[in-house]
Structure formats: C-alpha cells, structure tokens
Symmetry: C2
Subunit: 571 residues, 2 copies
C-alpha cells in the first residue's frame, strides 16, 4: 500500500490556506493544496462504464477503493459502516490509550479526493446471487420501516470483502456474556465495561468476594489481540485506575486463557516466552492448555486439557478473542457455488471465487486455494519440452523457470527451506551433481515435496490490505492486460495469464506487551523486544494510518496519554 497517496488529504478546501495562516503549521509536514475537479461532468462523459459493487469497507475493501481508478468504473459500495477502522489499534481503544474517533476515517473522505465518485450505502448484504449477477442488501436502520426496505444491485464485477465474524466454537453463553474485539463499538463497550466493573466493586454493601468477582477480568485467546488487550488493561489499571479507586486496587486480577501451550504461538518462540515472562512479572495470570466449556453472566467454566477436570471461575468481564468464523452471507454463497462446509470462500490465485466468473473475494472472508504443482506436472513438462524429446534439457527448463516460480510460489519457499538457489539444484542427481536433462519421472520426483510448502495466509489486516491493493491494480490495468497479458505461461492451455497471481509479502508483526514494551517479528527472522520496539511500533502504526487526520489524532492521543493519563469517565 502506498500511504503517500493520502498526503493530499491534509488539505480540505479553498479557505483552508487562510485558516492555516492563522493557526500556523501543525505537523511540519508538507501540505499540498488541492482543488476539486468537476466530478459530475467527468462521470457523464462515459456512460458505459462497468459496474463494480464492493461489499465491505474493512482493510480489504478500503485498500481496493483507495487504489482503484474510480473514473474507469461505476463503483457502488455496500457496508454496514460508513467508515474504515484501523483495527490493529482496537485494543488501545478499549482502555482509552487511543480514542475511537482517532482510528476511524469516513469512507467518503477516503475516496472523495479522486476524480470520480463512488456511491456508498450503509447496509448489510443479505444475499449474493452470482447466477443473476445481483446482490440483495438491507439498510442498517432497523427502527425505521421506510429506510430499512431491502434493495438489490446488479453488478458486472463483485468484490466480496465482508470480513469474518467472531467464532464462539459453539461454546454456550459466549454470545450473551462475552465482549468481542472486532468492531469499534466492541472496543467502546469494553471501555465502559471495565469502568463499570470498578464502579460496581466499590458500591456499598458488597462482600469482598463480590468485589473480587467484579474485578476479575478474563481474556480468552492468547493471540496478538488477546495479549495486547491484556497488556493494555494491565497498564490502564496500574497507571490510572488504581489511583482513583485505591480501596479496591488489591482485588484486581487479570487472567488470560489459552488453549495451546503458549501464548502468541503464531510468533517466534523467543517472543512467546518473552511475553509470558513479562506477564508473569506484571501479575497477569496466563493459563495455557485450557478450553472454555461454557460461560454464564457470573462464571466461566474451563476444562483443563491435561486432566480433563472442569473448573468454574467467577468473572466481572470476559473478552473473547479466538479465531474467526464465517458470516451467514458467505456460508450461503458457498452453498450456491459448491463450496459448502468451508470456513472461507475459496478463490484462485487471482482472488476470483472458484465457481464464479466475476466475483472476487478478499480479506478474512476468503482463502486462496493455491494450485498444487503436482497436479499440473505433466502439463508443465509438456509445455517445457519444446522439442518433444521426452526429456527436459536444462536450457528448456530455464525458459519456463520464471513462470513456474510465479505460478507456484511454493517452489520458491521449498527451495529456500532446502537452502537451494534455483530449480536446477533440485534436479541434481543423488550425488549432488547437476544433470544435463531429466525425464518426466525424475522431474516429478524432484518436485514431489514442493507442495508441502503451501501455506494458508493468516486472517490479518496485512493480508487483506495487500489483496485489496492487488485487485485494484488488476482492475486498473484490465484493458491493457487483455492485449498484453503480464501473467505467467498457461501450462495447460498455452498463452499467458492476464495478470500475475497475488503474492503476499510478509512485513513482520508486532505484539505490544504493555509498560511501553513490545515484541516484534520482522522480515529476515529478525526478532526484537523491549522499549525500542515499542517506539518502532509507534512509528510504524503512525505511518500506516489511512489519513493525515487519523495520523495526527493517534499521535496526539499517545502524547495525551503520556501527559494526562487515560480518562476514566464512563461515556
């Protein structure tokens, strides 16, 4: 994603210049003047634009909209929210380190600076009908019969970016009694919930047991979100709350329940153990190897995996932060396109939903079903063997090696895992000597282990954003690439693919651990933890903001927290 493109957003309108003169320059950054061009006129000149309908305005949807050339398409967006939320900062919002308003940006604001205009409706998509190129939507205004009439939209291309929903794994009582951390409203509710727990705990006439119960905060799920929330909550309580509720400060307890053996198990194990030690010092109780069996308004029942014993613990507030589930509209679509029973929509490497011709899916609701090289091995061999000799010379192989690497990214991963430089190394004989040529059997046997390196991409913002961006680029070059395909060779049918397949670049991941410490896994197996990593986290998260407004607000929120602490008013 290029975030530099949002530079223009620092400016709003013509009178701005004079206002800035009064106010002085806030950021010291350069602010580029901007003048609106007549979007109406532009729009009417080309009446026959293809209609692109986008469902969802999360990471994937917004990256797509930001990078799409909206002058070439008639773009309609359906989303239950008229804003984009910078979800990686949601844990910070739960405790007021950052304000909710600072991490959201109006979708129309994000797109309005382009030549062209999108239509956005605040509605839920209730049914996707790929057979008729139609989606059915219901506005979110449930209380207003007039404004909640269902409507349907025709599309030429559909971009499904509706994300995922929480996954309760069928655990009874979770939906009714737990907080989640997927939406901005969730974070705001948790913030009020935490304050309520303290206000309840100091009420007159309660027993100490009741006070302790109200102040027992339970987090289910030891992934990055759960860990960050636990850390934020601990800081909030230690740095701000205990000063104003001194009478109950010794009754507070934070418990993190993880079903696996370690928290942060998607991270390098050095980070995972650093986090566990930090939490031990902080007094956050980490309980691993536990599975939640049920939740009530006052208690949570947990099964200890090793012994099978079930224990029930009283709680004041639970945050449930485990895995992702499938939205009903996606399950329904999967039934229609013979993908029933999956967790997410299967797409090919070009993000096209399998079984559809013009429906693309990006972000948490989708999963790329990567093609196995072994399924195509005969075709690859045949396509490479240009002289039909029945054997591949190294020269013949060299001609297709780039296409293979692009089409089957697992090959590259496999080579790296074997510390090899290129495919010819794979084809060496048993003594390690390079061969001059190989037959189909030797070729198959050399590549037989490659498909083991296929990986499902994680359900993260990073993946979603890259997918949205990638798809926008494809749409922007659609006409050009019809004539000049830029993708790899089609081994089965000949010719070339129109586009290069989507390829994910992992830029690393952070885990803020509280007390101004963070851990990070950076590209190249680089692991870092401590205060300096927290400052790296600050700068990366500030730079990744979607607009200058949110960037300025987030940075000022961090500063405000240092000076004045977090506010504990219950609003």
């Amino acid at each position: 994603m290029t975030f530099l493109s949002s530079l223009g957003k620092a400016s709003r309108s013509a009178p701005l210049a004079s206002k800035l003169f009064l106010l002085g320059t806030l950021s010291g950054g350069s602010i580029v003047a901007y003048s609106d061009s007549n979007t109406e006129a532009n729009k009417k000149e080309q009446p026959k634009k293809k209609k692109v309908v986008v469902l969802g305005t999360g990471w994937a949807g917004i990256s797509f909209l930001k990078d799409l050339d909206i002058t070439s398409y008639d773009v309609q967006v359906v989303s239950p929210q008229n804003y984009f939320a910078f979800t990686p900062l949601l844990p910070s919002v739960t405790c007021g380190t950052v304000e909710a308003r600072s991490i959201v940006e109006s979708v129309r604001n994000i797109t309005k600076k382009k030549n062209g205009e999108i239509e956005l409706w605040e509605a839920d998509c209730v049914k996707i009908d790929p057979a008729n190129n139609k989606v059915h939507c219901r506005p979110v205004f449930k209380d207003d019969p007039e404004a909640s009439q269902e409507f349907s939209l025709k599309y030429d291309y559909l971009i499904v970016a509706v994300g995922a929903q929480v996954n309760t794994f069928g655990t009874p009582g979770v939906l009714e009694n737990c907080h989640f951390l997927k939406e901005v409203e969730d974070a705001q509710r948790i913030r009020r919930g935490v304050i309520d727990c303290f206000e309840k705990a100091i009420l007159p006439g309660l027993t100490e047991e009741q006070r302790r119960r109200n102040l027992h905060f339970v987090i289910v799920g030891g992934g990055p979100t759960g860990v960050e929330f636990a850390a934020e909550l601990h800081d909030f309580i230690q740095e701000d709350i205990t000063k104003i509720y001194p009478s109950v400060k010794d009754l507070v307890k934070i418990t993190l329940i993880q079903s696996g053996d370690h928290i942060l198990n998607s991270f390098d194990e050095r980070i995972s153990s650093f986090a566990e030690q930090k939490f031990l010092r902080d007094g956050i109780v980490v309980q691993t190897g536990m599975r939640v069996v049920s939740v009530s308004d006052k208690d949570i029942s947990v099964k200890i995996k090793s012994s099978g014993e079930v224990v029930s613990v009283p709680h004041g507030l639970i945050v449930w932060s485990t895995g992702v589930g499938t939205r009903p509209v996606i399950s329904d679509l999967m039934e229609q396109v013979d993908q029933g029973g999956r967790r997410a929509l299967a797409t090919n490497e070009w993000l096209l939903v399998k079984g559809c011709e013009n429906v693309f899916a990006v972000g948490d609701c989708a999963s790329i079903a990567q093609r196995k090289i072994m399924g195509d091995i005969a075709n690859i061999f045949k396509a490479a063997d240009v002289d039909n000799s029945g054997t591949l010379t190294m020269e013949e192989l060299q001609d297709v090696v780039d296409d293979i690497l692009v089409r089957y990214p697992q090959v590259d991963l496999y080579l790296k895992s074997k510390h090899m430089r290129n495919i010819t190394d794979l084809l060496a004989d048993s003594e390690g000597n390079a061969r001059k040529e190989v037959d189909i059997e030797a070729f198959k046997s050399a590549l037989s282990g490659v498909d083991s390196q296929m990986k499902t991409l994680p359900a993260t913002a990073q993946v979603a954003a890259q997918q949205g961006s990638y798809l926008a680029k494809c749409f922007n070059t659609m006409e050009h690439c019809k004539e000049h395909p830029e993708g790899p060779k089609r081994f089965r049918t000949g010719g070339h693919h129109q586009f290069r397949p989507f390829q994910y670049k992992h830029f690393g991941q952070f885990a803020p651990l509280g007390g101004d410490q963070a851990a990070a896994e950076l590209p190249g197996d680089w692991v870092s933890a401590g205060r300096s990593t927290q400052w790296l986290w600050y700068s990366v998260y500030a730079s990744k903001q979607v607009s200058w407004r949110t960037r300025a607000l987030v940075v000022s929120d961090w500063t405000r927290r240092y000076i004045f602490g977090r506010d504990s008013s219950r609003i």
Copy 2:
C-alpha cells in the same frame, strides 16, 4: 470560581517528569510537580468528621467539591455519572466540532489531588428523607441484580445538586421522538442521528419527498442552546457534510421553532436581531410565535399562535431544547417539606432548603426565594432606631445601610434602576431635598417599590457554579464563622447571620452563531457580535475548562476542526 487551582492537575505522578523529558513540553505552560501525601493517615486522625452527602456532579456539585476542604468533612457523592461534563460545549459535541471525551473529566480526578478523599457512587438518588437525615440511592447498573441493590446513606449535611430534567410541557410524543441536549449521551446520539439522516436520504428507492423529510432538521426552542445547535448543524452540513453527500445537499432544511416573538429573548435585542439576520442569510428558517402541539416519528404538529391554525410538518430529526423541568426526587422532597407544586426547591439566601435545617440545594434544582424587604420593614426600622425615638435619623440609618444592602440585594438593584447613589437619596422629600429624619410611614413608602427588583436567577451553569463555590466557602469557614459571624445584622432577632447571603455576579453570556461568528452580552451592557467575539468565546471557554487535560483537548479539537474538518463516521 478560581480555575487557577486546577493548575496542579497538569501533573500526574512521579514518573511524569521522565516522560515529559522524552516528550518535550506540549503547551509551553508551566507544569507544577505534585507529590501525593498519605491520605489514609490523614483520614484516620480525625474520626468524628461531619458527614456531607452530595447529590449530583454537575456544575453546582463539582464547584462545591472542588472548593470544599475535604479534610474537614467526610464527603460522599452520589451521582449517575462518574464524570463532570462541561455542558456549554454540548452543542459543539453534537456535530463533532469538539469530541465528547474532551469536555468530560472524571470526578475522582478532579478531587484526588486534594489532601483527603471522597467516596463516589454511580447511583441515582431515589428518595430524600430529611426527617431521618437519610437518602436512598439505586446504583445505575440496572442489568446486574447484585450491583443494583438500593442502599441508603445517613448525612449531617445534604447538598442537593441533581439539576433539572427536560421539560416537555406535556406535549405528546416528545419523549419518544425528540432528541434532547442535557447530557453527553444526548449529544452523541444527536451526532449519530444527523449522520443517519443523510445515510437514509441517499438510500436507493426513496422518493424525493422521503429524502427531503429525512433531511429536515427541526429545533424546538430559540434559547442559547437551540440557537447554538442550529448554528453548529448548519456549519457541519455546509462545511463538511455536503461535500461527501453532494447528491442530496439541496434537500437539506433547518427549522428553528420558537414560541416567543424572537429567538435569544433572554439576550439584549440587538443580539437577538443580529442572530435572526445571520440565520436568514444562512438559510436557517426561524419560525416564531409557534407552539408545538404534538410530535410523531415522522411529523411535528405546530400551532401558529396568531391564527390558531395547526400545521403538520414532516421531519427527519428533532432537537427539543425548551426550559427545564423538575426531577421526580425533587418533587417528592418538595411534598415532604410543604413546597408542593413548585418547579424548583425554594431555598433561603444561604441556599438552605426552606423547611429543612441541614439540606442545601444548588443549581437548576433550586431557586432562591428572596426575602421581601417590606415584610421586614418594621423590624428594620426598630433595629435601626437605637434611641427608640420613633424616627430614624440619617446617622441611625447609615449604621444599618450596609446590612440592608447585603441582606436585601434588590435595594441595590432598585437604586441603580433609579440612578441613585445611596439609600438616603431614596428618603428625600418630594422636592428632592435630603431629610434629616424619617418616621416609619415615610420609610415604608420610600422602600415600597424596592421588592419589584427581585429576580429569579436563570438556570445556567454560571449560577450553579457560583452557588456551589459559595456553599463550599461557607462549609470551609463554618467553625470560624460560628464564633465570628460575617453576615449582616439579624433585624428581627438581633445578632448577626453566620454568613453573608449568596450573591450572584453575572459575567455575561455568549451565543455562538456559526460561521466563526458569535454574539456576546458582557458586563456593563456591553454587546459585541462577529468574528472577534467568536475568538473571545474560544478563549473564555478554554479558560473555564475544569482541568488542563480538557483544556488541551478542547483546544486541539478546535484546531483539528480547522485543519481536517469534522468527522462523519457513524460511531
């Protein structure tokens, strides 16, 4: 109120200094280091402190708590909110000019920097029982049976500062279909409501009539709050909203309904007509001489006073901002102390509730029943006539004149209205010559017009704050003033009153009118309107903030609005 006392709040704790070193100085203002003294130890030394229970944490309650010496009393506070809200900025919150969080400050934060500690419970007072010196309270956590058990508190002194509630004047449908503007939550709801109206209006399949209805914003009440909200809404729509909803911008209409002949009728008429002309230019429709007769979810019915005709107008959103009503707990207390049927609790000039010995009432829930001088005239004469001659010499009068002016402030107002310098001028004979002495009849006749100058104080933040502060000062000097009364002479019973009566000082009032223009009525009949007044408004409102945190946030919100505009995300 002294706002300088909040200076210390800029600092939080010992580690602050090091943090500030990292961050540099934000404001350039001086930040005073602060060290907590051991409050627990202080508390236990004096076990027999009088118990003061405060109901409410609005302007009156917070001024009282801020200025009270909480080491001398055992202070318990009952309030449905754990924060104080700077209510004059509520209209700015409705449109996102200022964020809700920026105008609230945690009550515990406001009081924690003092030597001593208060107890605060988030609860509604449901019954005041002055006969038994008790209040009954119900915690606000309705969903939690354990944490919503009623509790009661004994008091030695009770401070009633619960404020008022909205006054619907019995108009049907108002409670169900109108927004109000008394609490922070109200302002947040209005903000979402305004965005919703625009989101509804652009939905596909609506008729133009339906779109127009959704975009018809109605404000009932032309007082400062209603006018400011209308102005904010107009600015929000013009400066921010129409840019991102261009297709419906011409359908927007704002109507302000006022029952009187002019808006802002508590202001000087120059301001009132300036506002009306400004609104006319802005396209805000001001309808005077109208009374709302009923409201439904889609329509508002209005009676034109002059013709008696009733017209019904479709609306998208109504903000009801007219007058103040009585809270049930106050009505109930009034019944108990023989004040039934009044709008507000009658207190004497020392803010003591009439009919009670230890219950004080401040702010919007109370009203000072000022003593008429004519009721005491014989006693005054008798007390002044020290030689019992049956006539008052000017020397005798001079001895009591200060006491009269303090005890009956209407005398001073009356003199000013007659352009007189002192009471002796009042006693001049019909030709204007000073008299040497007066008898009781001449004395009575001279003072007969004085009581016409008695005024009820308006239900404003300014009055409430001054009352709270005044009462705190009385409580702080209670012991000292028992021995050394500082009040005026008691004309009936002899001796002196313990304290000087409460006297309101009017520092003027503002009416922001949008487009960076404001009108102001300042002390000394000074009227000002325009852009410079808006800057005066900015500086006064920034200086009046209750803490350095809210001051910094409010100023940064204003700056943010200038640079980035108001956010229209619906959160």
